[in-house]
Structures are given as C-alpha cells and as structure tokens.
Symmetry: C2
Subunit: 340 residues, 2 copies
C-alpha cells in the first residue's frame, strides 16, 4: 500500500470533485457498538402485492391505474417536490434570499416483479432501465424549463424508501442542485487548465494504483473513491470521458448495466442482506451549454457499517463539521473485491 | 406573511452562512407516509444504571472508574476519532490528496442523573454545562495543535447516540471542518465589506419580521432560520455579536442556558416524546487570529417530521442534489411558538 500512514492514523482526504474533505479514523474501527440496531425485513416478498401502488394493474392514490407493464414503467410523481406550473418569483429582501424553483419529478419502476431488486435482475433487464434513463434524460433535458436531471434510487426502509417495489426516481429542475454545482465548478476548472477530464485522469491513476478498484470491464470501472464518505461507498464511471449517459453506445450501455449488476449483487453478499443505499447519477446539466468538462458517474452511498443491522450515523460532528469514516476506502474496496 | 409564494410553491432559499441552498416544497406536506417508522423507547430510565459507562462510580471499557461526580463530568473519549500523538504527514500524489489531522476528543456528561435530558434540567444546571463548554473551549483552544473546537450533542438512538445517559461531545482539531470553513468565509466576506456581523444584521431583520422567532430574552434569540433544512431546525444566537462563548458575561451565560432550556423542553412537547436531535455550537476558530467576523450560534438539527415515529430522510435527492424540506420554516416556527 502506497502510504501506510493512511491505514494507521487519523487524517483527512480531499474530494477532487466537490472540493470538500472527509475525516478518516482508521484506528477507530474497533470501537464497540452499543447504539441503535436497524430492523431487517427477512420477509420474502411476493412477485405481486395487491396493496403496492407500484405493481402493474394496481390503482395509485390519485386514482390512476398502472398499466400491465412488462419491464420498465415511468410516471410523474403523484407527490412531486417540484412543481411545473407555478409562478416565477424571487425574494431579495436584505438577508432573506429565495428563488422559485420549477421542475418535474418522476418515478421509474424497474420491474413488474415486486420481489426483485437490481441485485437480482438480469443484466439485460438492467440495460432496459439504462435505456429509460437515457430517454428521460433526453426528453426532460429538451424541456426549456429543465436545466438539470437528477436520476437516483433510495433502496431499503433505512434509506427512507417508502415502498419495497424496485423503483428509482428522477427530479429534474431549472437550476443546478448544490452538489452538482460543486462538481460542475471543479471539473470545469480542471478542464480549462488541462484540457482533459478530471475524472478520466483520476481513473487512470486509480487503475495504476489498483488498491481501490473493485471491478472493471472494457468500458467501466467500479471503485471506492479515495475520498469515499460512506463505509462501502462505490463509484461507477466510464473509462473514457462521456458527459452524459446519452453518449453510451449499445455495448457501453450493456457494460454499464453489467457494472451495476456486479456491485449491487456484491453488496448483498457483504452482510447477507438486501443492501440498502441511495444511488445517483451525476452528469452534465441540460442547460444548452457544451459541458465538455463533464464526465458522468454513478455513486452508491450505503449506510451499513458492520453488519446488516449496524449502520454509520452521519450526525453531530458530521453535520456540524466534516463527514467522518472509520474503515478506510482501501479496506472497504478489498472486502467487496474479495466477494466477487 | 411577507411573501405568500413561499408558502405555496416550490422554491429554494439561500443560507447566508454557508452559501448553499435548500429546496422547499410547501405543497408536499400532505404526502401520505408508508415508509419506515422509528422505534420510540417509552421505557422510564432509572437515575442510576449499573451498566451505563457514563454513570458516576461505574467502570468504563478501558478500566477507568468514573468519579462520583455531582454535576458535569468531562473525560477524554476512549474511542477518539482524532489522535493526538500521531505523525504529521501529507499525501500529494497526483489527484490523491490527504493530510494528517490531529485532535482531542472529549465526552461531557451533562448530569450524574442517568434519567435526565437537557429538556428536564434546571436552567442553573444547564448553566454549569455552559461553564464547562467555556473552560474546554479555552483550554483546548490554547493548545497549539488545536485550531478549532467543535462542541456538539447527539440525542436519541435515531441520532446514533449509543448511550441514553445525558452527554455531549467535543471534537477539537488542527484544521477547520468543512462546515466551519464555509461559515468562516461567508462571515469574513460580509464583515470586510460592511464592518458589521452578518448574523447580527440578520437577527435584526428577523426580529423585525417576527414570523420565524420562537423565543427571545435580553441577550438571545431562538428562531427557525429562513434557510432551515431540518423540519424543526432551530438556531440560538446572541443578539450582540460575540465571536465565542467565552465572551458571555454571567448574566448572558444564564440567558443562554435559559434559551437552551426553552427550546429543548418545547421540542419534547411537540410530539410528546423525548425529541431526538444533533446540536452543535459554531464559533470562532482558535487559530490565534482576531476572528472579529465570527458570531457564535448554536443549531439544533432534529429529524422528526410528523410524529414521534416519522422522521425526515435526507437521502437520494438530498445526498446527490440539495437538502429538501416539506413544511416551511414559518410554519415550523409557529408550531413551536404555540407550545411555549
Ligand atoms: O461518538 P458516538 O456517540 O459513539 O458516535 C456517534 O457520534 C459520532 C460523532 O457525531 C459519529 O461519528 C458516530 O457515527 C455516531 O454513532
Ligand atoms: O420520494 P419518497 O420515496 O416518498 O421519499 C424519499 O425520497 C425523497 C428523495 O430523496 C426524500 O426527499 C424523502 O425524504 C424520502 O423519504
């Protein structure tokens, strides 16, 4: 390992994409845990649940009936956080500053099968989801009101997911969210200076170093970023800079689906449980600019730390100070790699 | 209300201290909840628990015996995230960037009584805690290695608190944590331009607007900040700019303790439960600089949203985009104010 200090002593690591730090305490992994244990649902879900508002042919709260869909099904969120038809306004009253924010929120059912998760789906079926993400990114992006399209999934009750039916969401909006704005600025700065993609250069360095790589195929790398915050955080990124998922060829889309399949199924093996996480794709804004500095990537932020029931709490110090982690990115990558 | 749009339509609000935004979806408060319910412990705790490693006279994991303390008791964290005696190093290897980070972590037992929380303590007893915070801030701050002292509390199992005995923590370290760095920059910029405290000017505007004020006394204001992220987030701040808690007179310290007592006991009334939160004090770094731009303040980030068992999840969109809230700061302030 390059620097054994990083495995022995408290230190902070820099996130080149956001410009923020993470505090790493490798010596602290042995701390005993006397706090809250999460509940695990061991209940085997049926393939169809008549009370699930996402299952095919069921009626949703607003009275709409889901079609008898056979693979992926998208609809507009019945309780969208962003409104489409609202007035444009801004508040600029001394130190009170606000702006109206419009948007469109959608729900994507990954499969008609209520019992499945991405981890259990075939690569070909995941590829169909990638295809729908591409369509939605393209269509929403063409809407003049929409300058950014955030694709994400909350998996598991511990991640606030209110329905176990396999699904993700898209929140698309007029302005760049905080995290996207940070990554936009740091990638742009690097691109303007070096004329190469920040993330492509980073991936080259990681592929050389090897210790944080979990999996790779011709087009994609799955790794624990050097600056990972969550215990088993993982990033999937295309080796060649692609600003968004529309730039994927058919083979690349398949290799992307394969990477998603590998990491989600490996996660499930780690603690022998359906592994909870939030995942999301950060990609170029749809603001009509070139955005050649953007290199899309998907991240997984899973909360579990030691077992199926003990998670990492990002609380007190983390909220007021800096995210903190106990096991290092290198150890996390090795544990996941060993399960492949 | 100043601007009814803010109560009706999705918008974002700007945090003048961090420079970041929060997405507000006032129309969404009526969304039905089908997700995870938190467990509440209704168990009445005894005043002394022989298995608690924080109770007086008990033995901690490392073999040390707690004294038979009568009010506040401080000790160095047995599983500190930051180490004191570690080598100084830095990694500057292409896009891998890391720095050693040293520090001292402490635990502060607020009371010998295992069953009490701040909400149930007398103002005079909370004032003793304020006094210990002052002593620790002063002593740690004098240490050459320490340039920032983060005082915080995690209350409740849902906030990762591993022991119900009333206690808080201090993590002090060599560099400024992410959140402190942001607030340092924004306060400095404003101070350099206006020669007044950003927060003092903001508080004047809030006291005029009234709708987000929950409580005030001669020296302190308790309010829901315009840019609050957590459903019932609250800030306590001195009306006059004070860069740190050492600048409080005896009367001011008492009025600060009173403000803490008011908000914590009001919280408990909201959902008829011992209200979980993380709280923390942001104040001037102890880096030997003047720091006249700093105005200390204490914030409470409580996760509960609708009841003792339904919390707000900061997941998916929030992790990849921007924090999002449903009820507005104005409604939250009113609900708390009405319980006084
Ligand atoms: O120090 P504790 O109470 O054991 O641990 C708790 O607070 C720490 C500081 O906010 C966090 O890093 C931990 O994740 C949390 O479980
Ligand atoms: O949209 P859902 O699944 O009802 O809600 C979940 O995801 C949203 C987007 O990350 C969050 O704002 C909610 O707090 C969470 O419970």
């Amino acid at each position: 390992m390059e620097n054994t200090n990083l495995q022995d002593y408290s230190h902070k690591r820099y996130n080149i994409l956001t410009g923020e730090w993470v505090l790493v305490s490798p010596h602290r992994a042995k701390r005993p845990w006397q706090g809250q244990n999460e509940e695990i649902s061991t209940e085997k879900r049926p393939s169809y649940d008549e009370n699930c508002y996402l299952c095919p042919t069921n009626t949703r709260i607003n009275g709409e009936v889901n079609p008898d869909y056979k693979d992926v099904f998208v609809f507009t969120n019945d309780f969208a956080a962003l409104q489409k038809d609202s007035p444009t306004f801004s508040v600029n009253d001394g130190l009170f500053k606000a702006e109206s924010e419009k948007g469109i929120c959608k729900v994507i059912c990954f499969s008609p099968d209520h019992s499945k998760s991405l981890a259990e789906m075939e690569v070909e079926d995941i590829k169909k989801i990638v295809h729908v993400w591409q369509e939605e990114y393209a269509t929403l992006g063409e809407n003049e009101m929409i300058n950014y399209v955030q694709i994400f999934e909350n998996k598991g009750a511990v991640m606030g997911c209110s329905n176990p039916h396999p699904h993700g969401q898209i929140w698309s909006q007029s302005t760049l969210p905080n995290e996207v704005d940070k990554k936009d600025r740091h990638q742009k700065e690097y691109f303007n200076k070096n004329n190469t993609s920040l993330l492509a250069d980073y991936l080259l360095q990681e592929l050389e170093a090897k210790e944080r790589i979990i999996f790779e195929n011709d087009d994609f790398v799955v790794l624990t970023p050097f600056w990972a915050v969550w215990p088993f955080e993982v990033m999937i990124a295309p080796k060649k800079a692609k600003k968004n998922i529309l730039e994927l060829s058919d083979t690349e889309a398949r290799n992307y689906a394969k990477a998603i399949s590998v990491i989600t199924s490996t996660y499930d093996k780690l603690f022998n449980t359906s592994f909870p996480y939030s995942s999301g794709i950060h990609q170029a804004p749809t603001n009509g600019e070139e955005n050649e500095h953007w290199h899309f990537h998907m991240s997984f932020y899973p909360p579990l730390l030691r077992s199926a029931t003990v998670k990492k709490f990002m609380v007190g110090y983390e909220m007021f100070g800096t995210p903190q982690r106990d096991i290092t990115a290198e150890i996390a990558a090795k544990r996941l790699r060993d399960l492949l």
